[in-house]
């Protein structure tokens, strides 16, 4: 475990400027991602959970340099992704891939599936041109698609099949790191299981690292090795999976975990209900961002922003309750 992690994110920030007035001056910032840090070793999965609007997707996109960062560092194989020149970035792109949430809007309706999957592989010359056809077929079979699907168009496929196409498209480039942005949220339960199993199979086959973004905690628990919980752009807790699910420390994590309905009518519920809803990220509360909804809030929570502290080995939490 001493070796360098595949991807390291250090204090990453992404602010979107808010403009208003006649001169369109910047009057404030939406702090979509406000200083998150974590690392992912090769072949492992990091789960990122949180409510909608907490910056999970922006974090994923900023890591891939699909959005420009505001501050912080993203190190891929020890190199800062944002310092790489245009030409070299082009060569690095295939190694960093993303699978989007909605399989209905992320596939071009005018391209046949074979072309959707193979286009980027051809452009990046992943395989010699005479092997290209076989290569696309192989990737499709790996992802549970049939060869005759090549000439069909996305509208002829069901949601689950389309998500397989999205996965095949990402995989065709031999990536090392894939951001899975809510890949199963739009699918039915029985199809969800098929896609999750496929992602796991592919991970062990190609030694992929995933950043698995989801709001479904049970799915995250199933697939991840480490889990980060985000609230309003900040990471509130970050720990190995078994640790965080057995001993959630941050009050938000506790509430989030207790909110999940358990499919057992006799399950004794012990639910922490959070009051109100998530505040606007353009005008976040002072101090600890969670203090407005926190049942355990103390006077200092309003003023002092808590630092990330290591409460147990490998278990990081940013809350005044656990300050060393």
């Amino acid at each position: 475990m001493n070796q360098q992690p595949l991807l390291e994110v250090k204090n990453l920030k992404k602010y979107y400027p808010l403009r208003s007035g006649f001169l369109n001056r910047v009057t404030g910032y939406v702090k979509a991602v406000d200083g998150i840090s974590f690392s992912i070793p090769q072949g492992k999965t990091m789960g990122l959970v949180g409510e909608s609007g907490c910056g999970k997707t922006t974090a994923g996109k900023t890591i891939l340099r699909l959005e420009e960062k505001t501050d912080g560092a993203v190190l891929f194989e020890g190199r800062e992704v944002y310092d790489i020149g245009k030409e070299e970035m082009r060569r690095l792109r295939p190694k960093l891939q993303i699978i989007f949430q909605d399989p209905y809007s992320s596939l071009s309706p005018r391209l046949p599936v074979g072309e959707i999957i193979g286009e980027a592989a051809r452009e990046h010359k992943i395989v010699p041109s005479d092997e290209y056809d076989d290569y696309v077929t192989k990737i499709m079979l790996d992802c549970g698609l049939q060869e005759y699907h090549k000439l069909r168009y996305p509208h002829e496929f069901s949601g689950g099949q389309r998500q397989r196409i999205c996965i095949a498209r990402a995989l065709a480039l031999n990536p090392k790191f894939v951001v899975c942005d809510e890949p199963v949220s739009a699918l039915d339960v029985s199809i969800q299981a098929q896609i999750i199993n496929l992602l796991e199979e592919l991970q062990s086959k190609f030694d992929l690292a995933y950043l698995f973004i989801s709001h479904d905690l049970s799915v995250v628990q199933h697939i991840s090795d480490a889990v980060g919980v985000m609230y309003l752009g900040s990471m509130v807790e970050y720990a190995p999976k078994d640790e965080i699910f057995a001993h959630p420390l941050h009050p938000y994590t506790e509430a989030l975990f207790s909110a999940i309905p358990v499919p057992d009518p006799d399950y004794a519920m012990n639910r922490i209900i959070l009051e109100g809803s998530i505040p606007s990220p353009a005008n976040p509360p002072s101090g600890c961002k969670f203090h407005t909804r926190c049942a355990k809030a103390m006077p200092q929570c309003k003023e002092i922003t808590p630092e990330m502290t290591e409460a147990a080995p490998g278990h990081f939490v940013s809350c005044h309750l656990f300050r060393a």
Partner: protein, 389 residues
Amino acid sequence: MAFWNKKQNGKKSLDPNYISAADSARIARENRKITTAYEKKRSRKNVPESEYLTKMRDPKNVVEFDDVHTYFYTDIGTVHAVDGVTFDIPASSTVGVVGESGCGKSVTALSLMQLVQRPQGQTVKGEIRVNLGDKAYDIVRTPTEAMTHIRGNEVSMIFQEPMTSLNPVFRVGAQIDEVIRMHNPEMNPDQVKARTLEMINLVGIANQEGVYGMYPHQLSGGMRQRIMIAIALACNPKVVIADEPTTALDVTIQAQILDLFRSLKSRINASIILITHDLGVVAEMADYVVVMYSSRIVEKGTAREIFHDPRHPYTIGLMKSKPILNKKVDKLYSIPGSVPSPIDMPNYCYFRDRCDKRFGRCNGAYPPQIQISDTHFVSCYQYAPENEK
């Protein structure tokens, strides 16, 4: 190329979904005839009540679905969206309807409201009996005129998408007022407003006067869903249909809304039909569970029976395929294949091709409902006695 194959094979094309323009036009013509007849019957004025009066099988039930068939007459064929659904809603209980998208759970509920997309969608067979206290109506035969007094008044609905089901150009107060005014013409404006404020308060919004004057875009998703609930409950309905009420919401907000439902349930005297695909939500809320697959009910029973003793292979598969918090599995179970096309349903068990327990008898006709206990029914040959076929 596909075109060439069609010619070579003569009548039958290779593509099972292929339909020629002439065929499509013919189907459309025939559909028009059928749907116009239904529409004419439904929009008659001054229909004698005796025509749609009916008797409840069990007076303790609020709603009884009895062999309901709702079809959609489309240009490529008739879609059997609901194909013989039978279940009861007992008074002040919650019935959960679960199933994948496209299995007909929403259409079942919409049939009860007579809100199926018309004219192409029609309930063609069966009875939906609604208990109105001293009498009972058969919704299938009720004309539109009489239906307006039931819809929103006796039976109301909470829709899935709180963002799109409120009118963006009216203040939320006015939208609740409207429902109350429609069904209580004797109330004066002040009484209506007082009732609206009471409803807003009931659904757990503290700032009633403020919210009364707000537009939907000023509210968050959870607040909007609360307003939807207030609208649904405004006329003290007997049955509330909640169609995926929490699917569009975050888990913490979902917890708030489910909590609200639970506290309301003890205060209002209504039955709830909870339509969802989330087994966790059903387990938490429902007394009875109905599992639907491809337009039919495959299993129904009390929540405890369904969750502790699932019998149908589909129900079992559904339970196993969902990862459960703090329960470790190496590989999730996944049901192979996908749902059959709703236009071209097989004449054997709809689940046979995906079932891992299929055997000889599954090739026979669609399995009948087999009774396991007083309340537990399943449609699967595994549980049928050997001698009967």
